[in-house]
């Protein structure tokens, strides 16, 4: 089953958010982290990326966000945006947001202040000195707070939140930057079962208006959210498809069980 069958084509409004990673290779000091990797994402898609450690998942994200430059290959966002020509800051401007594994929220600021910092707005010094929240900004923050389940806790210092809540706050902050593509790296590591369920709901709610690429190890979680899964191995795409297809693919079984 190819990716072309995955989703019904969306309207032109949503043509951004599509990701085209083609034949990308990255090596570090002789070690090939990514090896001729090709991956396509449709706009609004929720994709899970799995694979053993060292498969290249984090490196792939680094390439997309501009943290690492590939030695070969192309990375396009939408039809026309060549990500390899842009700096990290520019890639963030263009609408790609990333959430790292370790939650890094600003612990000495309140939830609300964290969210306010993440709003898509003029980031220059003069602007922030005078910044006042507009009505629409306030609304968006409220929406985000509700979505991430922290609506009642907005005045608390972010440092006092539980681990799961910090992760959600970070997702919320990512949301407020109005990304077209969200890269989420191992969101449920260290969460309780209840939190994991909530996170699954959250991510599913996020997809559609934007594309979401999730890297995870927790198979339960992946199964609960994934329509489409990509398996990476040694820097290359090993298999793609639905969860059922993946789990019955002999190559995947060999890689996961054969080590």
């Amino acid at each position: 089953m190819s990716i072309d069958d995955a989703e019904a084509p969306l309207s032109r409004d949503h043509h951004r958010g599509a990701l085209f990673v083609e034949a990308v290779s990255v090596s570090f000091d002789g070690f090939k982290a990514l090896n001729d990797l090709t991956l396509y994402m449709d706009p609004g898609e929720l994709r899970c990326l799995i694979g053993p450690n060292g498969a290249g998942k984090t490196t792939l994200m680094d390439v997309i966000t501009g943290k690492t430059r590939p030695d070969a290959g192309e990375v396009f966002f939408g039809d026309r945006i060549d990500l390899l020509q842009l700096s990290e800051a520019q890639i963030a401007e263009v609408g790609i947001g990333r959430k790292f594994q370790k939650p890094t929220v600003f612990e000495q600021l309140s939830v609300r202040e964290n969210l306010a910092l993440a709003l898509k707005q003029d980031r220059r010094v003069r602007a922030t000195l005078r910044a006042r929240l507009t009505g629409s900004e306030r609304d968006r923050m409220d929406e985000a707070a509700v979505l991430i389940g922290l609506a009642e806790n907005q005045q608390r210092l972010a440092g006092t939140l539980s681990h799961g809540q910090k992760q959600w706050l970070e997702i919320g902050m990512l949301l407020l930057q109005e990304p077209h593509l969200m890269l989420i790296d191992e969101p449920v590591a260290g969460m309780t079962r209840g939190e994991i369920e909530r996170t699954a709901e959250l991510l599913q709610a996020l997809a559609g208006e934007r594309s979401v690429l999730v890297v995870e190890h927790d198979m339960e979680f992946v199964r609960s959210i994934a329509r489409h899964v990509t398996v990476l191995h040694q820097g290359h795409v090993l298999a793609e498809g639905s969860m059922a297809q993946i789990q019955s693919d002999p190559r995947v079984i060999e890689v996961y069980l054969g080590e």
Binding site: E88, A89, A92, E93, R98, T104, F106, E107, Q108, L109, E113, A116, L117, A118, R123, R124, V125, T128, L129, R130, A131, L157, G159, T160, M173, Q177
Partner: protein, 361 residues
Amino acid sequence: MGLPTWRQEPGGFALLVVLAIVAVLVPLLNLALPVDSALHVPNYTVTLLGKYLCYALAAVALDLVWGYCGILSLGHGAFFALGGYAMGMYLMRQIGERGVYGNALLPDFMVFLNWQELPWYWQGFNHFPFALLMVVLVPGALAFAFGYLAFRSRVSGVYLSIITQALTFALMLAFFRNDMGFGGNNGLTDFKELLGFDLQAPTTRAGLFVASALALAGGYLLARAVVRSRAGHVLIAVRDAESRSRFLGYRVEHYKLAVFVLSAVLTGIAGALYVPQVGIINPGEFAPLNSIEMVVWVALGGRGTLYGAALGAGVVNYLKTVLTGALPEVWLFFLGGLFMLVTVALPLGLVGLRARRRSVA
């Protein structure tokens, strides 16, 4: 926005109230009462308290960069001294013919060095507005140049602190030289008047005192406005998680530079108010030890609170006055011990002792 309230920000509120009281009471008790009255505040006390106020302003400025942005500058004394020198140059020009050598144009030390004319960088300092401009511009420009180079190259942490030390040390060496034209190791002194007011007169002293109190209040409110704004939150974000802030799209270097320059300007103003009150400015103000003492004021008071810095400045300098008067040998031991105490036992400073901690894991 507005002013701090007793309920929300007791510290800030207390500071402003104390300042208001002091600004009224001290001049009153000095000028209105006869000298032998029990409640009379002597002239030197007015000057001493004025000094404390200037130091407190410098401390608040340092708290801005350190407490809120994490930039530990060990060279802020340089900005204090530069502001002081700018004011000192104006005051020197005001001496005119009343100097020892009676030269209307050249200050005494220039006559002594056989200089024939006023160097170009002294031009304009006979005008008060120009001097005020320089008070703001010179420290600001230095901070800008230095900060631009340092922050752009992502120098941070201890490396930055060391370099700020080296900066003030180099400036000290430079200003000690007689041929720099700033009075050499004697500095600038023997001031007569400011804007026509005799610097020795009690009314002038009181006026300067009130000006210092106003400057402190103004500086505090300005700093407070900055830290409460979105920009202030960015500063805190930069302090705690710099790469995350950068990742969020904030130009960290710009923010650091902006707050560094603002802090330098405020410190320069503090220096400019300090000099007419103590009557002298010399290169010793650039000494690295001075800058580091400023840090202990903020650390002891409680960084990241602004009013804590002012408190710390007052407490430490008061102790310094007392100890250097009574047991001069002990002062340095005490200061050293203070450093050790504050870092090991009092990370949140005096303010942290009583505040209910909004503690974080």
